[in-house]
Amino acid sequence: MKRERAAKAPVRADHGTAREWAAGRFLEEFPLYRVVDEEGRLVGGAQLELPGSELLGLYRWMLLGRSLDERMITLQRQGRIGFYIGAIGEEATVFGTVAALEPQDWIFPSYREHGAAFMRGLPLVTFMANLFGNAGDLVKGRQMPCHESWAPGHFVSISSPVATQVTQAVGAAWAARIQGDDMVPIAFFGDGSTSAHDFHTGLNFAAVMKLPVVFACRNNGWAISTPSASQTVSETMAQKAIGYGMRGERVDGNDLIAVWAATRRARQRAAAGQGPTLLELVTYRMEGHSTSDDPRAYRPAEVVEPWKRKDPIKRVQKLLEARGLLDEAGDAVLREEVRLEIQAALREAEAFPPKPPVESLFEDVYAEPGWAQREQLAELRRAMDADPRVANPRHVEG
């Protein structure tokens, strides 16, 4: 029991026993783990453990993620979809982590990790149908855009309330251990979400139960309009692990290889019964929070500048080029492929009927609709039959 150890611990009488740590202490204690520098060169004596073909594959995924985000933001500006939230500048945190997991590992996303779903097989067209909320949407047009679910790829349903997925991932890890499954879930969340209560209870439960789970904090510097310094005054997110008696690691979140390697390590530890890891992936939110947001209202453009040079995609591109795995022409081909893929998916997605059937409104509340759902569906149908305006969004605005 802990108590016993405590009783034997050293005892001092001088005042101020707790260490008054110097600024920078935790930056030193949790150094930024990096494998590839901004010029695409391996740092120090680092080895590239990821095969070239896989690296090229990941590069393509990153291109797809970036290109999709850009295209969808435009689509929103054109009024063709209502909302979009992506991961521009944060691609390495999404693809690097998931590439390091096993296919059976469950993904508990925040709301920027669409790329993770694609890697797990979610067709682009299905994702886009979710953006339109149309009849092709697997989620039946029930959630805002960018709240997809993809059970075949163990990509869990996204919700808006932040950090709720953290405790849920812990539960899944727990379940897998009880079942004897080799399954290590990952929970994604932002720096702002470390302030939320599910962060605390999730990490604490995982540590106490020594559960196989990876916590991936995408520290992108911002929670909507507030910088991370408004969320916490700890120097790093990684050091929060200390409070839970857990391992923490600070990783260059714009370094795909570092993210991949750190995640792989964390997964190995988890699978080996050594418990959870908190990964702080240091990156940057290059754009607004979402299409509903305009960062110019609170963020001077200059602060973004230094981060442009750290672009995670450019860095992989340089690495690939240096290794002779990619040249300019090859890059152009990839980019064009991705562009066409998106274009084709978009065309297909827009072709679905704009609304899911009205009865879908009442499905899935329960496994079987209750009498309230059945009666209300009938009520709605009668109302719609009597007055077509019932289904028309525009008749009473203002």
Binding site: S149, S157, S159, D364
Partner: protein, 324 residues
């Protein structure tokens, strides 16, 4: 048949289900070696081990969030909240997550879990060991809400709840935890959710109650009988799904209804029942649907007898309704 109280019946149901289904896991504060502050999980960790009967850290949000993750992954967790009054730190997980998982994922991620919580007043628990928050969950589509009134129902309903494909809140009326005793079959039997029990047929007025208040309503009905008033008494047992047919059939027959619950009156489930009854039985009604409830104050300590809607107040409402 063995005679059990409600705690023993709950314990029996948990034990049977832990034995039958490897996916069942029990988790909560102090539920392990200690067996729970009311002993409802006594002996379970000893039989099923600390992996399946788990003491959690003190965080209800963590308990339900973790249980949700287990349920998503395919287990059948049964989470205990030590007192229903302490369920609110988990409120977000319950109403925004657990309740909506199936719907928001288009049916891809059902989240079947059971949340057990001792509930209600009558044990001198004051504000924080007495509340009856069922209405808060009934306003959230996606959740089911079950309240047994005695040991037989407790066992049969809890087994159904654990096997139900949807999340179920299972509120146990702690006032009758030990007081309500009765014969309980060994082995398994299921009481389907959504069926009220007509525990006393009658003709003049329909009494509707659940949980500990069913006992009060039953006593009131017996006293009313002595006065020549013939009550039909329904024990709802499950509030969602609600047995609307039994309710409307009864009120169409009697033309009068008295609803009883412990929670504060305003926006309690009695309001919904009154609304439903007047919507569906308007032409049969000979008096307003009466509500005998806790008052619109926090739950008190010393004056809890005055606060609780017990038989004498119910009887008065019966008389007033019958003579309206």
């Amino acid at each position: 048949m063995p005679v059990m109280n409600v705690i023993q019946a709950v314990n029996d149901a948990l034990r049977l289900e832990l034995r039958r289904d490897q996916r069942v896991v029990v988790l909560g504060e102090d539920v392990g070696a200690f067996g729970g502050v009311f002993r409802a999980t006594a002996g379970l960790q000893q039989e099923f081990g600390a992996a399946r009967v788990v003491d959690t850290p003190l965080a209800e949000g963590g308990i339900i969030g973790a249980a949700a993750g287990m349920a998503l992954y395919g287990l059948r967790p049964v989470a205990e909240i030590q007192f229903a009054d302490f369920i609110f730190p988990a409120f977000d997980q319950i109403v925004n997550e657990v309740a909506k998982f199936r719907y928001r994922s288009g049916g891809q991620y059902p989240c079947p879990l059971t949340i057990r919580a001792p509930y209600g007043g009558g044990i001198k628990g004051g504000h924080y060991h007495s509340q009856s928050p069922e209405a808060l969950f009934l306003h959230t589509p996606g959740l089911k809400v079950v309240v047994p009134s005695g040991p037989y129902d407790a066992k049969g309903l809890l087994l159904s709840a654990i096997r139900d494909p949807d999340p179920v809140l299972f509120f146990e009326p702690k006032r009758v935890y030990r007081a309500a005793k009765g014969e309980v079959p060994e082995g398994e039997y299921l009481i389907p959710l959504g069926q009220a029990a007509v525990t006393r047929p009658g003709t003049q007025v329909t009494l509707i109650a659940w949980g500990a208040m069913w006992h009060e309503a039953d006593q009131a009905a017996r006293e009313a009988e002595a006065e020549g008033i013939d009550c039909e008494l329904l024990d709802l047992r499950s509030l969602q799904p609600l047995d609307i047919e039994t309710i409307t059939a009864s009120v169409r027959k009697t033309g009068r209804a008295v609803v009883v619950h412990e929670a504060p009156r305003t926006c309690g489930f009695g309001a919904e029942l009154a609304a439903l009854i007047q919507e569906r039985c308007f032409l049969s009604l000979e008096a307003p649907v009466a509500r005998v409830t806790g008052f619109d104050t926090p739950f008190p300590y010393t004056l809890e007898s005055e606060y609780l809607p017990r038989a004498p107040r119910i009887l008065q409402a019966i008389r007033a309704t019958v003579t309206y």
